[in-house]
Symmetry: C2
Subunit: 172 residues, 2 copies
DNA sequence: GCCCAACGACTGCCTGAGCAACTATAGCCA
DNA sequence: TGGCTATAGTTGCTCAGGCAGTCGTTGGGC
């Protein structure tokens, strides 16, 4: 067992991945009970936190882990299920908005408390405030370095992004 | 912006996810240059760190994020590409081992240094040792709680579990 | 005003992965 | 020994999502 795989760097990544996988599984299980996938939940939250409960398709893609075609399809499904609708953009006929419907908002309201409870139970509640703060501080610094701006993966270099003042601290 | 989405719990999960996504994108980009997917790399490392550079299909599935059918298919592809082979299990004719070939080991050797460099560059190297230790400690505690059951138990703090003689200390 | 490059959304095609069904083997128990 | 159940691996089916190509729209240069 003297191999390179005990390298602390590998271990560090392994931990991060295991935590991610573990939490994701919990989230998926809970969301599934509400008839939502993880992606749909993310779409719903991104829209719900935006002015007018809406975003242009492209902006939605930029805020999620999806490509624009992925967004098209997820919005298709969610529109079919009544969770949101498309609305034409008055100022640019190429664009359209995805807007959360009343049903969608209600579904989100039903889902959020349980979601927060699970986060509390399995993540934030596992650590005392100081340890949690240290963890989040570390994550934040790595996040800032790795610059998740290019979530879509179009260009992973993305040296500079436009207005990140918008909601740096608020991003999910 | 007075909505629930600024809840620190949401923010915490958001950070974790952004870090995960950011690192994954870097890894994928680097591995892609070597003609490996993230999953294939994981399979290769899991096997390479196991005794005899081999694991039974089921054990491999348990150690990765894949289902058994997923493992079947990854191993199909990697066998086709010459990175590994199947070997019959002498003691149980239902089982078969996936074994890393010389080509597979070589590919891994070519890939690992760059991989470690990227981890260092974007993750561990972003923090001073103390902050990194705090981060990892927090992650470890959450990991232990969320218990990624599939890959359960490690030397860390694991109270005690049954038979993980397979390769307990080897997990990522 | 006209042209053309850039852009937003959508679609065809393909890959990767999970679930469930299936086959073969193992091990138990009467 | 014969049968029953559990297990290992594979395969059919389905679906989500990415890439690249398409279509309509926009806006800048002339």
């Amino acid at each position: 067992m003297t191999n390179v795989f005990d390298d602390p760097r590998i271990t560090a990544v392994g931990l991060l991945y295991e935590v991610h996988a573990g939490l994701s599984a919990r989230f998926a299980a809970q969301l599934d009970e509400q008839g939502l996938s993880v992606v749909e939940f993310e779409v719903l939250t991104r829209l719900a936190r935006s002015p007018g409960n809406q975003l242009r398709m492209t902006d939605l893609a930029a805020q999620t882990s999806l490509s624009t075609s992925g967004v098209t399809r997820v919005v298709d499904r969610m529109e079919r299920d009544g969770l949101l609708t498309r609305r034409a953009c008055p100022s640019d006929r190429r664009s359209s908005f995805a807007v959360v419907t009343a049903v969608g908002m209600q579904r989100l309201d039903e889902t959020l408390p349980g979601h927060l409870r699970i986060i509390e139970q399995w993540f934030t509640g596992q650590l005392d405030p100081q340890a949690l703060a240290a963890l989040l501080d570390g994550l934040r610094r790595v996040r800032d370095a790795v610059h998740p701006c290019a979530t879509a993966g179009s260009t992973d270099t993305a040296p500079e992004d436009e207005i990140q003042a918008t909601d740096d601290s608020a991003r999910l």
